[in-house]
């Protein structure tokens, strides 16, 4: 999938004047591919809806304290008065009420709404940071491999093979399990977040790396790279000034599509019990607790739906972004 000069507008530049004929007095600002993509994206209702939800979720994450203040429940407060001590379940089944929109958790009666809202912070924060990390690693190594080729490429490609040969989830869990409580000057949830970001980021970089490498390989064959070199440009110039601007689009697309994958990854790790430290709420963690109380539907439903909606929104937006930036891949 080459993201390059659009096939859309080619020879018949609609309003491009004949060569040599000056147009008006002022300079005409060209429409960059980004601008064109944005126009295209704006037309894609579904993608925009996805984008809207993403923005909404980000706002929810940022303003979580404010939202929970309005609803009046903080995520870690027990409401054991709402729990039947014998069954450990909320009285009346779910405990849903005006105060507790999504009901309360069995056993300790924490407000599920507040926890779901707070859970978005963990999910999004980790997914974003991990994606950034894998983009940095993946893009750097991908460009280096694609651009320099030879044994550098062989080495990096083989490394990616090794990574892909690992049972990564198992590996991630194992790694999350063996790292001590305090390390690298971090401790507590700070360390956990850093650790999860590190694990997820390191595990998913080959995904970006492969794409960037492929793109770089094909870009390297494009004549503008030769042109720059024949002008005397050095490798850094070519990488940063010539290649990178062309790599931004694919990196952006795949980063956007990697975020939902990483959200799922984080949720899976939390579900398997190697995620963030309690009582901090995370969606995967809530689901794993809900598994113990599988008879009460609301406990699993809300965090599950939160993951689903978030991932779906990112996927919709990412798909739209890809279609907009890469008209060839358009459906």
């Amino acid at each position: 999938m080459v993201v390059g000069p659009g096939t859309a507008v080619t020879d018949q530049g609609p309003e491009s004047p004949e060569p040599g004929t000056p147009q008006g007095g002022k300079t005409i600002e060209g429409r960059s591919l980004g601008r064109i993509a944005w126009t295209r994206l704006k037309r894609d209702k579904v993608a925009m809806a996805g984008g809207g939800v993403v923005v909404f979720l980000i706002l929810v994450a940022i303003f979580a304290p404010l939202i929970t203040k309005i609803t009046g429940n903080s995520p870690n407060d027990f409401h054991q008065d709402l729990i039947d001590v014998n069954t450990l379940l909320p009285k009346g089944g779910t405990g849903m009420s005006g105060d507790h929109l999504f009901g309360v958790e069995p056993l300790n009666g924490r407000d599920i709404f507040a926890r779901v809202v707070y859970g978005s912070r963990i999910s999004l924060l980790i997914a974003f940071l991990a994606t950034m990390l894998s983009v940095v690693i993946g893009a750097t190594l991908g460009v280096v491999a694609g651009f320099f080729g030879g044994w550098v490429d062989a080495l990096i490609s083989r490394t990616m093979d090794v990574f892909l040969a690992f049972p990564l989830l198992v590996f991630a869990i194992a790694l999350a399990g063996v790292v001590p409580d305090a390390a690298f000057g971090l401790s507590g949830n700070g360390l956990r977040i850093a650790l999860l970001v590190f694990i997820i980021g390191v595990v998913s970089w080959p995904y970006i790396g492969r794409i960037v490498r492929g793109q770089t390989l094909s870009l390297r064959e494009r004549e503008f790279v030769d042109a720059a070199r024949s002008l005397g440009a050095r490798s850094p110039y070519i990488i940063f000034k010539e290649l990178l601007p062309n790599l931004v689009a694919p990196i952006l697309i795949y980063a956007t599509l990697l975020i939902p994958t990483n959200i799922l990854f984080e949720a899976s790790l939390s579900f398997l019990g190697v995620g963030i430290r309690p009582p901090t709420a995370s969606w995967g963690g809530m689901l794993s607790e809900a598994a113990r109380f599988y008879t009460v539907w609301h406990f699993m439903f809300f965090p599950g739906m939160a993951i689903f909606i978030t991932v779906l929104a990112f996927n919709l937006f990412g798909d739209g972004l890809r279609d907009a930036l890469d008209p060839k891949g358009r459906r």
Binding site: N76, D77, F78, Q80, I83, V85, N86, T87, L88, L89, P106, L107, N108, G177, D181, A182, G188, G273, R277, P278, P279, E289, R292, F293, Y294, T295, V296
Partner: protein
């Protein structure tokens, strides 16, 4: 003989299916023989080897295929705490002030292959269990108390070494234990599965668990480690040598590593008879069982000799100040703690002492009353904080086992209740595999990571003050390299009291001393007692002779029959 009161007529019966019907009475008594009892275990069996197994349910079950010198009486309720002779003709005879214990072995007891059980087999069994390189997980009482020769490493490595100074067998039916120091409760040790005879010729060391030679009424039919095993009748078992066992069913089938929720569902539907681990239903089934009167009538709710508690670590500031520790105790919301642990049915009763009521010597007292609603006495807590010099509270950390949802919930509950007086808890989950060795039981780690509160739990190896307290409050079991289960009690006075109690052969005096130790430890406020564990168990639908053995805190597996 060791129970405080003597209501162990033991054979009250009932057929009325109601809540707790099998708690103190025999439910559905019957002598009908035949049938198969189906059991399931949510995890793996620790080991079937009598020399190493260290779980209550395993000991309960093991009596089906092994006979120890002494055993707990198969009787409902308190009666089960009574020790009765099994392989031995009578309880042990102490001499030398409790340093030497002699047992006479019954004649005519045979292994599954028809050979007779001799005193030497018991001796061999006990000695092999002291080889901790081969059996690292087993109880370590014998090597601690027996007067073994220096450098003795068990019968495998120290082959041929004379061990008569520790155990002597003057004849084939007499076995004499020689202890390093007097120990009044040695009969409790003699009931350990480690005294189940093992024929030396058939011993395969660590592999013996694959085929244990039965000396009881049942022997192994199939044994697929990690999956399932079954027992069938041992043709060489002679009921006349065995007054304790009814041996009603023809077969026992045990499935391992079964999904815990699935076990509950199958128990409810009657597809399964016994959840062999005996820790009660899972939270998912709890609501269902308790919410349905018909189902609830099919349950029993015994109290276990197990305390879930929180250690308050005096080696971490500001908890090195007793007032701060008291503040923690006062601020605790006891009902919150209880609910988090599973509520009054599946969790347990609120405890105010170390000793559970089931342990002889238990004395009821409450040094840090928590107000009428049991939600804590915040005024007292604040007062204590002020005395401690931390009027606005302080921050500390709390450790628990990451894999245990109940401990997590409890820690969260405590975090909530302590926050009311400004004590801020940060929760620290650690993997349970290394919890004691590397984390909560590792003193330097505890200090370095400022773990003020440590989630902990202790169950007696047998229902007696020594079995309960010795590993829990003796400061000498604390090791700098980690691994100790006592994590916070370092009171020299208590150590002395323990030494005195151990050598006391008079049971009543001994029991009074355990109660005093309990109180002394509570005064130091280094343990927050939490709850005395209870479990809600689904009573086997199809079985007869069902009753709870208090000694094991679960159904007595020896007496069950099939309707």
């Amino acid at each position: 003989a060791c129970g405080g009161n003597d209501d162990s007529n033991g054979n009250e019966t009932t057929t009325k299916a109601e809540f707790n019907a099998a708690l103190t009475k025999v439910f559905n008594p019957s002598d009908k023989k035949g049938g198969t009892i189906r059991m399931a275990n949510a995890g793996d069996w620790d080991t079937l080897d009598p020399g190493e197994t260290y779980y209550g349910y395993s000991w309960d079950f093991l009596r089906l295929y092994g006979r120890s010198l002494v055993m707990f009486k198969p009787a409902p309720g308190k009666g089960s705490n009574e020790l009765v002779p099994d392989l031995a003709e009578s309880l042990g005879t102490p001499s030398d002030g409790g340093k030497t214990w002699t047992y006479k072995i019954r004649k005519g007891v045979k292994y599954e292959d028809g050979t007779e059980v001799k005193a030497a087999d018991v001796k061999y069994a006990v000695l092999r269990s002291t080889d901790k390189e081969t059996f690292p997980n087993g109880p370590a009482y014998f090597e601690a108390f027996l007067n073994l020769p220096d450098g003795y490493k068990g019968p495998y490595k120290s082959k041929g070494m004379n061990t008569d100074q520790a155990i002597s067998t003057p004849d084939d039916y007499t076995i004499v234990f020689h202890l390093k120091q007097a120990f009044g409760g040695f009969d409790y040790m003699a009931q350990l599965s480690q005294t189940v005879p093992v024929p030396e010729a058939k011993d395969t060391g660590a592999k013996y668990k694959e085929h244990v030679i039965s000396s009881g009424p049942y022997m192994f039919d199939q044994n697929n480690l990690g999956k399932n095993f079954s027992l069938k009748r041992n043709p060489n078992w002679d009921a006349s040598t065995d007054p304790n066992r009814k041996a009603l069913p023809d077969r026992y089938e045990v499935a391992l590593n079964v999904n815990a929720d699935d076990i509950d569902n199958r128990l409810i539907s009657g597809d399964l008879d016994v959840d062999v681990v005996g820790t009660g239903v899972q939270p998912a089934a709890l609501g269902r069982v308790v919410g349905d009167p018909a189902l609830k009538a099919q349950t029993d709710n015994p109290v276990l000799a197990r305390l879930w508690y929180t250690s308050i670590n005096p080696t971490v500031a500001p908890l090195d100040n007793i007032e701060c520790r008291k503040a923690v105790l006062y601020a605790e919301d006891r009902t919150g703690y209880q609910t988090a642990y599973g509520g009054p049915l599946a969790g347990g009763d609120i405890a105010t002492t170390l000793l559970p009521p089931a342990i002889p010597g238990y004395q009821k007292f409450d040094l840090y009353p928590a107000g009428p609603d049991n939600k804590g006495d915040l005024a007292k807590a604040k007062e204590a904080l002020t005395k401690c010099g931390q009027p606005n509270g302080f921050a500390t950390n709390m450790a628990y086992r990451a894999e245990r949802p109940k401990e997590k919930a409890t820690a969260e509950a405590l975090q909530q209740s302590l926050a009311r007086v400004g004590i801020k808890l940060t929760l620290k989950p650690y993997p349970q595999g290394d919890y004691f060795s590397a984390y909560a039981g590792n003193p330097p780690f505890v200090v370095k990571n400022k773990l003020g509160l440590l989630t902990n739990g202790w169950g007696a190896d047998w229902n007696d003050g020594f079995g309960f307290l010795s590993q829990m409050v003796d400061s000498r079991v604390i090791r700098e390299t980690g691994g100790s289960s006592n994590t916070s009690v370092r009171i020299p006075e208590v150590d002395t009291m323990l030494d005195q109690a151990i050598v006391e052969t008079d049971a009543d005096k001994r029991n009074a001393m355990w109660g005093a130790i309990d109180k002394r430890v509570m005064e130091e406020a280094v343990i927050m007692p939490g709850i005395d564990a209870k479990s809600l168990m689904i009573r086997p639908k199809n079985l007869t002779n069902v009753f709870i053995s208090e000694a094991y805190g679960m159904y007595d597996y020896l007496s069950l029959g099939v309707a």
